[in-house]
């Protein structure tokens, strides 16, 4: 049998994987090897699979992903720094049939937007929250963030993060998993093909939860910022695996629906 030529394989009917139709043709402005691109792609793929392009609204954060509306062809809103869950709450309450998701980084969600994040999850809003944790402020040049690891060198902690001065890294996903309003809280990563598949499954589940009206779905994606960490993408993935995964273990922290709290509801006060 004659050897198969490349031209015989590269035909539209043989295509098994390609760019999602929901992604626009604009090239991503992110640095090479940035995890943002993978997560954008997964969100676009999930929206395409669920066929909810017309019903989905994204809330973009402040940070590297501020121009996310250029890349995914759905409706978008831009929120002030840290306020994406609050904006998403408003949109979801006015349009309960829409799929609303917020997309934030660690400086946005875990630092300036902690109050909005905690209260949106505590209220059990039916939104999807996607949290990109790269342990640094990537956009502004790799400064120390609340999620920066102990001993990690950043541009504002040149001798490494010191717990006596800077405190401890914040595991916000564990905090949110304790709140009664959360339906699905998980921590994922996108550094290997297997993890990318798992993360896509988690995002899909979160969007499906959004339609079922069972509470907030929160996905943390442990990511790399090779420009902020000042190493190359492959080394960044390795560093993340060795140093971040012991502190930020991957897996589901809560999977169910928001608590009813019937046992704690009290009688009306008699006057």
């Amino acid at each position: 049998m004659a050897e198969l030529q490349l031209a015989d394989i590269i035909k539209p009917e043989n295509k098994v994987y390609g760019k999602s139709k929901i992604m626009t043709d604009t090239p991503l402005h992110y640095c090479y090897g940035c995890s943002h691109g993978v997560v954008h792609k997964l969100i676009a793929e999930v929206i395409e699979e669920l066929d909810i392009q017309e019903e989905t609204v994204g809330v973009a954060p402040v940070g590297c992903s501020v121009m996310m509306y250029n890349y995914i062809d759905i409706d978008w809103m831009e929120a002030a720094h840290g306020r994406a869950p609050a904006v998403a709450t408003g949109y979801k309450r006015v349009n309960p049939k829409k799929y609303v998701f917020s997309y934030q980084g660690d400086g946005d969600l875990a630092a300036i937007g902690t109050a909005e994040t905690m209260h949106a999850v505590n209220r059990g809003e039916n939104i999807v929250m996607i949290f990109i944790n790269n342990a640094t402020y990537g956009m502004t040049g790799g400064q120390m963030a609340p999620t920066t690891m102990v001993g990690q060198v950043t541009s504002t902690s040149p001798y490494g993060r010191n717990v006596d001065i800077n405190g401890y890294p914040l595991r916000i996903t564990e905090l949110l998993a304790m709140l009664p309003g959360a339906a699905y809280v998980t921590r994922q990563s996108v550094h290997t093909p297997a993890n990318v598949r798992k993360c896509k499954k988690a995002i899909r589940k979160a969007f499906e939860n959004s339609a079922k009206n069972i509470g907030t779905s929160f996905i943390e994606v442990v990511s790399t910022c090779n420009s902020g960490w000042k190493i190359d993408p492959v080394a960044a993935n390795q560093w993340m695996e060795e140093n971040m995964f012991p502190f930020y273990p991957l897996g589901d922290l809560k999977d169910g629906e928001r608590d009813s709290f019937e046992q704690f509801s009290v009688q009306k006060l008699k006057k």
Binding site: L4, I9, N14, V16, Y32, G37, P193, P233
Partner: protein, 79 residues
């Protein structure tokens, strides 16, 4: 018994040469090109196309969605 053959098409202008697809490939098919694209990145390309099995790992990890994967099943004639 059927053999699987794959092929990868990289959008060379979109590729930023991050090397993640090269590391993710189980058959060492991909590599970075000696030449650069218009932005100055060493883009990814197939070094040994005959080994590709179309497993989609490279496409999965590509942050810039610039990889398209094709796959065919080749029936093996038994002697």
């Amino acid at each position: 018994m059927a053999k699987v053959r794959g092929a990868v098409v990289v959008d060379q202008e979109c590729c930023k040469g991050c090397n993640l697809c090269v590391v993710a490939c189980p058959e060492n098919v991909l590599g970075l090109h000696k030449e650069v694209n218009s932005k100055g990145y060493h883009y990814s390309h197939m070094v040994s196309p005959e080994n590709c099995i179309g497993c989609m790992n490279c496409g999965m990890v590509c942050p810039d969605s610039c990889i398209t994967v094709y796959r065919v099943k080749v029936p093996v004639e038994q002697d």
